[in-house]
Structures are given as C-alpha cells and as structure tokens.
C-alpha cells in the first residue's frame, strides 16, 4: 500500500483500513458489496499482470484497485480483466487471421496481423473501457452477476485502424444494417452460446471505432485481447470484442443471446442518447453509451484528515464521449459545492483527471462528494436508478472522513 500512502500526501490516514490484506472498498455509499463478494475477493495475479481484485477465476474476472486510478492512464498490467467464456486460447500472431465478410459485403477477405498494420492508416486515441456491470455490486437490492466494485474500468491509449476503412475494402452493400463481431474465446461445452456482439452501422463506421492492436504503446496483452480487439469509444465494454477473428456485415439484426437477452437496459429508466434501433425491443434496449460518472481516487471511507491542513481530493470523470464540462466537489455532504480544477484533456473519450484543494476546519465527520457534468449537460443522480442487471450505476459517490 506504499504507493497509495505516498500518493495521499496531504491526507493523513489514521484508520487501519488497509491492514495487511485487502484494500477493497466495500462501500461506495451507493450501497455495499454483498458480504459473500467481499469475502470471496482476493488479490491474485494472472500471468503478466500485477495482483488485481479477483472476483472469479474461470472465466477470469479481475478488478482494478481504486488506487491505480491515481493515474489518468491505466497501466496494462493493472487493467481490469473480464471474460464471458472459460476457454481463452493463446493466440499466435503469425497464424491469427481476421475474416471480413457477411451477406452485406461485396468482397469478403482475410487479413493477417502484418497486413492489418500495413494496409490501413494507423489511428491513436485515448478511450475509457468500462464494463457495463461496473459497480453492479453496489446495487440495492443486489442483483445476480459479477459483483464488481468501482474498478471494472480503465483508460488507455489505443492504436489501431479504423473499422470503416476495413469495411470499405470489403465494400458494404446498401442493405447493411449491423456489423457483427466474433472472438476466439469459447465455452466449456458446445451448447453455451458463443460470445457474439454487433454494432449498428452508424457506430461501426464512426471514425473513432477502431480495430486495435496496441494498448499504451505495447502489443495488446493476452488478457486484453491479443492480438486485436475492437475499440468502441464512448460505448460500454461489452462491444469491445477481444481476440477479434471475424467481422461480418449483415442485413438482419444479430439474434444471439448476448445481443437479444443480455446487456439490455429498461427503455423507460434512462435517456436514450445513442440509439441502436435494430436491437430495440418493446421494453428494453441494448446498453450503448456510458453515462457520465466520477470517482474520488485518493480518499477512503473512514479516513482521518487533519484540521487546518490543506488537503487535496483527486479523482476522475468520464462519460459516453461528449467530454466533461465540469466536476463539482462538496466537503459538507452536498450543502455547498465548489468547482474542481480539471486537469489535462486527453480527448472526449478519455478519463478526465480533476482535483480540489480545501482546508478542513471543524472536527468530526464530513461527507465528501463529487459530481461530474458532461458537455451535454447530463449529470449524476443522487439516488440509484435501479435496473435488473445493475447497469449504469453513476450515483454520486459519498465518502465519510473524520477531521481530527
């Protein structure tokens, strides 16, 4: 925990929250993780990774600890890991092929990794990859699923080629409706539905949607989808297909379980900004763009602050690709708010770091809160918008500290 301690600078941590073991926040004050989720979480390191918070071993679901987010760019070896199917092959770059086809292309073709890198213009951008279920564990009431805390997300500099350039080579027919993606992973038994996702044509052809082969200047790590993954800036991680092996243009909506039943939100609970019309149902629709959100990264529940000492609260804010307009911080449970200072802008899809410095005067318990607003004017709610799969949890965070 030394790094975190060092980072805490102005903050005096008097409580024994870290101990020798798990610094896994049980509470974000938007509810608490289920007791069983806290007890079954351990620090564990996958090959090539630093120890992360293990939620499940197989398929591997590992969460990034909050302290890692003191960096606006999430290091590859601490980036969260989320897989749906138990069998994740070690893909060999030389034999990997990407099939581009489907009933709505004129000229299907295959790409090697070398050709992908050589034939198309490279693009680099910063973008947040956040699991749709990030913070599910804080849902009240609890809902089944991977009981994520706040660390099923990360921000990286992705390098790849535009999906629309790849599709242009294949030649899209007029009837193209969705682009469908498949990865090399597969289930333990044949009956398990393969993890297949699709995008509406408009999002697939957006200039920022990438077929990516680098992450933070390195080849994509195995657990992040080596050798190639989809990067869908602004949209939930569920679309960011790892170990990408097939891209198909189709004139019909993809009907598989992972589109038609999973990763859907009730239509009447959230504003529908980025529409996916061909997948919309009567009552629900696929989750698409991320809601505006923020996280305090250098302060913990129960922490002691010193009266009269200048103290800096630091954090991150992000949204579905409009960019962050402002972050407000309250140090008195929401009675008054001050605008935080926004740090360097890495683009509208990136985490935006912020900080707010204040001097606590009065002793006793104080509730710290942070609230981000994006450039569309959307902001975070004070109450959870409950939904059965625990998505879009962007409740304003509350951390109680003690001034001594």
């Amino acid at each position: 925990m030394l790094n975190r301690r060092t980072f805490l600078k102005g903050l005096v941590s008097g409580s024994a929250v870290t101990g020798a073991g798990l610094l896994v926040p049980r509470s974000l004050r938007a509810g608490e993780l289920p007791m069983g989720a806290t007890e079954s979480a351990v620090w564990a390191a996958l090959s090539g990774k630093k120890p992360l918070i293990k939620r499940t071993y197989r398929p591997p679901n590992f969460e990034t600890p909050i302290r890692t987010f003191s960096d606006v760019v999430t290091p590859n070896d601490q980036f969260f890991v989320r897989w749906h199917l138990a069998h994740i092959p070690q893909v060999v770059a030389e034999t990997w092929r990407l099939k581009v086809g489907g009933d709505s292309v004129e000229r299907p073709f295959e790409l090697t990794l070398d050709r992908l890198k050589r034939d198309f213009e490279p693009v680099e951008l910063f973008a947040v990859c956040q699991c749709a279920g990030n913070r599910r564990g804080f849902s009240e009431p609890h809902v089944p699923g991977v009981q994520w805390g706040a660390g099923a997300m990360g921000n990286a500099r992705w390098k790849g080629v535009r999906l629309r350039d790849v599709m242009a080579r294949a030649g899209l027919k007029r009837d193209a409706l969705e682009i469908v993606f498949g990865g090399a992973d597969y289930g333990a038994i044949d009956e398990t539905p393969d993890f297949i996702k699709s995008l509406p044509l408009w999002k697939a052809l957006d200039e920022n949607t990438l077929v990516a082969y680098e992450m933070n200047g390195e080849a994509l790590p195995h657990w992040s989808g080596f050798p190639v993954r989809l990067v869908v800036p602004g949209w939930s991680g569920t679309y960011w297909m790892k170990q990408l092996i097939s891209i198909s243009a189709t004139s019909k909506p993809e009907k598989g379980f992972w589109m038609s039943k999973a990763y859907r939100i009730p239509k009447d609970k959230f504003p529908l900004i980025d529409r996916f019309y061909s997948q919309e149902g009567e009552a629900n629709t696929p989750i698409t763009d991320m809601v505006v959100n923020s996280l305090m990264t250098n302060v913990e529940e129960g922490q002691h602050l010193r009266a009269g000492q200048s103290t800096t609260i630091a954090g991150l804010a992000w949204d579905g690709g409009h960019g962050i307009r402002r972050v407000e911080v309250s140090v008195n449970g929401g009675r008054t708010w001050r605008e935080a200072q926004l740090e360097q802008d890495y683009g509208r899809f990136s985490f935006r770091a912020w900080r707010h410095t204040f001097t606590p005067r009065r002793g006793g318990k104080h509730v710290l809160m942070a609230k981000a607003t994006n450039r569309q004017g959307s902001t975070q709610p004070y109450e959870l918008v409950f939904n059965p799969a625990g998505y879009h949890n962007n409740v304003v965070q509350r951390i109680t500290v003690e001034v001594v």
């Binding site: 007890e39 079954s40 499940t56 092959p89 070690q90 034999t95 289930g187 009956e191 097939s246 039943k261």
Partner: protein, 101 residues
C-alpha cells in the same frame, strides 16, 4: 467461436493453442464451498463450466426463486447438462448455504 470450430481451426492452423484448464487458474483449487448436503452435486454440475467462486460471490442475497432462475439460465441458455433429479438438490443447497429466505 464454437468449441467445434475452434478444434477445426486448430487442426488447420497447426498452431499450438493452449487452453487454460481448471488448474491453470491456480487459486481456483483453494475455493471450498460450505460443507452440507448437496455440495457434491453442486460441484459435479457447476465446475465443468465455471469456477465455484460465482456462488459465494452472489451471496447471501438470493432467495430460492433467484437461485432457481440462475440454475434455469444455466440449463436453458448456457446448455448445462444438469439432470432434472439434481436440480432440487442444487437449489436446496444453494438456498440453505448461500441464500436468504
């Protein structure tokens, strides 16, 4: 891709594809479900597809009907070959040791 397609692809490419088996995730072996009637049946039916930590992680907030919905999803969606006779045994165990009433 499907397991069958993967086997075909492996054969075609002659690429050494290492599949992570249960033992590759070393920590998984250390997870122990609570002792109780039905535990063996749970182990026999669930670990073929996923590690057993999914059960304690999703506790103790699920009622019997919630566990029923989960087992139904495993059978009907994920294709788990669980015999009809085993289902009540599994539900009794999950509700008793990892559920709420």
């Amino acid at each position: 891709m499907s397991a069958d397609a993967m086997k075909t692809l492996n054969a075609l490419l002659l690429a050494p594809v290492v599949v992570f088996s249960v033992t590759a995730f070393a920590g998984e072996d250390q997870i122990e479900l609570k002792e109780g009637a039905g535990r063996d049946t749970v182990m026999a039916n669930c670990v073929m597809c996923h590690s057993i930590d999914y059960i304690p992680m999703n506790s103790p907030f699920m009622k019997r009907t919630d566990w029923q919905a989960t087992v139904d999803k495993m059978v009907n969606v994920m294709g788990a070959p669980i015999s009809q006779d085993d289902i009540p045994v599994i539900l009794d165990y999950l509700t008793t040791y990892y559920g709420v009433e």
